[in-house]
Structure formats: C-alpha cells, structure tokens
Amino acid sequence: MMEEALFQPTLVSERPRIEIRFNGTPLEVPAGTSVAAALLVSGVAQFRTTPVGRSSRAPWCMMGVCFDCLLEIDGKPNVQGCMTAVKENMDVRTQWGAARYE
C-alpha cells in the first residue's frame, strides 16, 4: 500500500506533525490540514473502493463535490476526507465498498 506518495509537503516542512491510525497502523501526518491532504502526503493512494466495481479511488476534486475521498473516520462511514480536519489520534480507515451501519 505504501508506495511512492502522490503528494509531498513541499512548502511547509516546519508544520507540526501528529499521529493518527490508518487501518489500525500508526501514521505520522502533518497537522492543520484535511484528512485527505494528510493521507495524500503520507503515501496513501487508496481511500475507498467503489460499491459497484470494487475499484480503488482517491481524491479527485479536494473541494467536496466528487465524494471519491470517502473514508471511515472514528467509526463513522462515508465521511468526506477533504472536508474533515485531521486530528490527533483520529482513527481513519479505508471505506471498503458500501458503508455498513451497525
């Protein structure tokens, strides 16, 4: 999963870093940005799989209009990663297909 990252934090190397969990594994990400941006600069290239064809998706628009950055955040499925601020100890998971509500 962690191949070459899609993005890198070129202009803000001094930004403080925080720890979140991605699919249960600790991941150090820059603070003060969206979950989607934090994952993109940390080597994540699969945010969700589609409910229909199970194909991998990652952000397309970064402004809340495409819904391809859907993630499971702190137990809540189908959350837009680009519209959610990243926070310390956040539990972020890949959204596999359609959401399951329990």
């Binding site: 993109l40 945010f47 209009v65 495409c66």
Partner: protein, 476 residues
C-alpha cells in the same frame, strides 16, 4: 408565510457567534462574490450572515489565505494575495461569519437549513445570496477514476491548504488559464513537471480570433496569460500541443498517460496526472429551487436564469452572485457580489434609488468588459467534444460506474433524459448527486438523440444538497 422550525429562537452554534433565527441577508459561500456581497450589505447597516462549509474564508480561489505562510504566498502569487482585502471584513466582526457550516437546503420562502458541528438548525432571511461558485468541469477520459488522476484545481487546493505538491512524474493535461497557472506555481515551488499536454490547437486559436475585440478587450489579462505560457516554456517543460486521445492507464493507480500529439502517439510515465478544461457553475441550489436554467453554448453548461441585478427568475429576493451565475473569474465575481450587495441595500431602503442605480450601472459596465474577454477565453479553451461526450468504454458516472456505452444503450431503449437515465442504471444517483456526471449525461443524450441540450434538460436536484445524517435531520 410559514415560520420555519427553530426560527423563533436563537440558535446555539457552539461558538462565540450567536445567530438569531432571522437575518436581513444570508449569504451562502465565502468566496469572492459572497464576501463582497456580504461586506456591502453590512456597510449599509444590514444584519448579514455569511455561511461557508470551509474552516477559513476565501472560497476555492483564496482557499487558506488566512493561514498561508510567506513562502506559500510567494509561490501562489499576487492574484492570490489580492484576497486579503476581501476576507478582512469577515474576520473583524463586522459580518456574522459562520465557518464549518453546511447549508443543505434553501427554500423559496428564504429559509436556510444547515448543519454545524453535527447540529442542525434553520435560519430565515429577507434576502438570500447564493454564491456557491464554480467547480471543475468533469473530464471523462479512459482512466480518469484512477487514484493519482485529479483535477488541477484539486492540486491547487493541496498547495494552498497543505503546501503540498505532486510527486513525480507529474503531468498536467487539458487547457485553460488554471492549468497554466498551476504549472507556473509548481515551477515557483521547485516542483518538476514531466510534461504539459495541451489540448489547444490551431483551430481553437482561429475560432477565438474570429471575435477580434474579445482578445483586445483586456490586454493586461492577455499579457498575464502569455507570461504564464512563456514561464512554462522557458523552464524547459516538455510542452505538447493539440493533444487528443487522452488516456490514463494503471492497475490500482495511474502509471502511464497516453495521448496523440503532432501525429505521434506518446506514452509517458505518470505518478500524478492533473486534468483541467475549465470550470462550470455549481448549480445545486438553483436547480433544487426549481429555478429556470438555460444551456449556454458559449460556456457549454447550464446557467440559472437571472436578471441584470443577479436575481433568480421567479424567486424574488434570491440572488446568484459570481461564478455560480456564469463563469466570469474571481475579480469579476467580487464585482458581481458588490453589485448584488448594492441592489439588496437599495431594496432594503438603506440606499437611495438614484445612488443604487448609478452604482449598479457602473459595476455592470465593468462586468460587461470582463464578459467580453471571457467570450475570448471560452472560445480559445472550448473543451473538446471527445472530452465532454466520451467513447463507449469511458465511465461517465464515477459514483455508480456507469459508462458512456451504457447510457447510449439507454437512449436506444427509449431513455429521453437524465432523470430517466437514473432509473435505467442509477446514473447520477450516487453520493455526488450528479455533480460529476450531469453535464456529460445531458450532452451525451442530446448528441445521441440529435437534439439540443436544452431539450434534454438536467437531473432533478433535490435537497439535502450536502451530506446530512438522519440524526441531524431529526434534531432539527
């Protein structure tokens, strides 16, 4: 008039700002148009609330401007920093600015339904300004759903909010000012660009120059554009022109980008592919209000019908400001917002009719000049038919994974319009509510049927137009 739930009591939004259940003016979207409209209304003594779904003001064009470092400002350039003056009134308490607020319904009686921090409430206004701006035009080519394929706008948002740039090899493809601006900003940030693949060809220049006055109507913008192109070429970035047959390939993410240019097929390695061929109005609210829209042959998109002061046809007191009414660009969007602010202040009795009319005509004269230059840009960077109505195997609806071929089959089976297409294949029924496929669906059905897009129409957009949970709904 019906009184909305919760409008009688003050709303507790959990922050220092307390919104009453009623305001004179509610502005939705804190981009240039919304900020300017809100500021003008507040200057005339009106009680204004500006609601925005982001944490900081500026819209997409000035995204993150209140937090941007000196280095980021240098890279993003003076046009970005021009947003400082527009955001200032939102930060010093002159205007009730509500960040992190998602408005998910606007009704014709000017009630807004919104969620903020997981709590729902409603707000009644005498005047509503819809300033929800633009979004990137969908760019359906083979492989456009692969991770690593994004819009140029998305990359710019990552630059503005996280100081992040794409990791190489990075390819920028398509056409239009934003594509070249991003390339110049990447170069300023020291980011290598593997190639700029421009779809603009001689026929586009020829078409654009038919209206000779267009290009000449704004020499400084023209010079700015030419300077961007020179910067890219001077940096030695491989620049391909008149590109066609664009195709992204890869297994679980983009690996290669194929295209034809200069009579040759090229195949370049790609880690990130950034696509762009213009922006289109975000019309979710105007459609959900059942307002009339017309198909613009110039901008190849739907425009809500508005009058000379930006008021929505048949919806008294509801105005559409900026790019949401028609694409005019950030500077003009602020002027359009100002014009609407003046009109509302006049109607609310805070400005004499004479003063209002004089200022409205002055701003309309300036806007008409911008619109003339926009006609030139729209002609030059007219998105190619192949990138609007793609081949059969290309996905049109990203959410439900419906291909162009499937849609053509629906039409063959008697599907006449976008709403019928939904029942054939769920096209447009996913979480994006048709934002990413709507224009393609309209144009594709029109092409197959051999009729005008206006005959085919658009999806019936229904609230909520933003994500809202049942729990949040029940609370209201």
């Amino acid at each position: 008039m019906c009184v909305p739930n919760g409008a009688q009591h003050a709303m507790n939004n959990g922050s220092d700002t307390q919104l009453q259940g009623h305001v004179d003016v509610a502005v939705i979207g804190a981009g240039p148009a919304g900020m300017a409209a809100a500021t003008v209304c507040a200057e005339h003594g009106l009680n204004v609330a500006i609601l925005d779904d982001q944490a900081t003001p500026g819209g997409q064009i000035y995204r993150g401007i209140t937090l941007a470092s000196r280095k980021m400002r240098e890279v993003l350039g003076p046009d970005y920093c021009a947003g400082d003056a527009l955001v200032a009134p939102l930060l010093d308490g002159r205007i009730n600015y509500m960040p992190d607020t998602a408005v998910w319904e606007v009704t014709r009686d000017k009630t807004l339904h919104l969620t903020q921090g997981g709590r729902s409430s409603s707000l009644q206004a005498d005047y509503v300004v819809l300033s929800t701006g633009a979004m990137e035009r969908p760019f359906p080519i083979p492989g456009w759903t692969l991770p690593g394929v994004m819009t140029a706008g998305a990359a710019q948002i990552l630059l503005k909010t996280a100081g992040a740039t794409a990791m190489g090899p990075v390819i920028l493809a398509g056409c239009g000012p934003l594509l070249y601006l991003l390339a110049a900003q990447y170069l300023a940030a020291g980011t290598q660009i593997a190639a700029v693949v421009d779809t603009t060809g001689w026929s586009d220049y020829w078409r654009a120059l038919q209206d000779g006055r267009g290009a000449a109507s704004d020499i400084s913008s023209l010079a700015k554009g030419l300077k961007l192109l020179r910067t890219i070429k001077k940096a030695g970035v491989p620049f391909f022109t008149n590109a066609s047959n664009l195709e992204a390939t890869g297994d679980d993410r983009v690996r290669e980008f194929k295209f034809t240019s200069g009579g040759k097929v090229h195949c370049l390695a790609a880690n990130v592919l950034l696509l762009h061929h213009g922006v289109v109005p975000n019309t979710q609210f105007t459609w959900s209000l059942r307002a009339p829209h017309e198909w613009s042959e110039q901008q190849l998109c739907w425009l809500p019908k508005t009058n000379a002061v930006g008021e929505l046809d048949g919806a008294s007191g509801i105005f559409v400001a900026g790019d949401g009414a028609a694409i005019i660009g950030a500077q003009a969007a602020a002027q359009h917002g100002r014009l609407i602010g003046i009109e509302i202040s006049g109607r609310a009795g805070r400005l004499s009719a004479g003063a209002r009319d004089e200022e409205v005509s002055r701003l309309n004269r300036r806007l008409n000049k911008t619109r003339q230059f926009r006609r030139f840009l729209d002609a030059l960077y007219r998105p190619k038919a192949a990138h609007r109505v793609p081949a059969d195997d290309v996905i049109v609806c990203r959410c439900e994974e419906v291909t162009a071929g499937a849609l053509r089959n629906h039409v063959a089976l008697g599907c006449l319009g976008p709403n019928q297409a939904k029942s054939f294949s769920r096209c447009g029924m996913g979480p994006c509510q048709g934002r990413q496929c709507g224009l393609t669906v309209t144009e594709l059905i029109a092409t197959v049927r051999g009729v005008e897009p206006a005959t085919v129409g658009y999806f019936r957009v229904r609230p909520p137009v933003k994500q809202v949970t049942l729990g949040e709904l029940a609370e209201e």
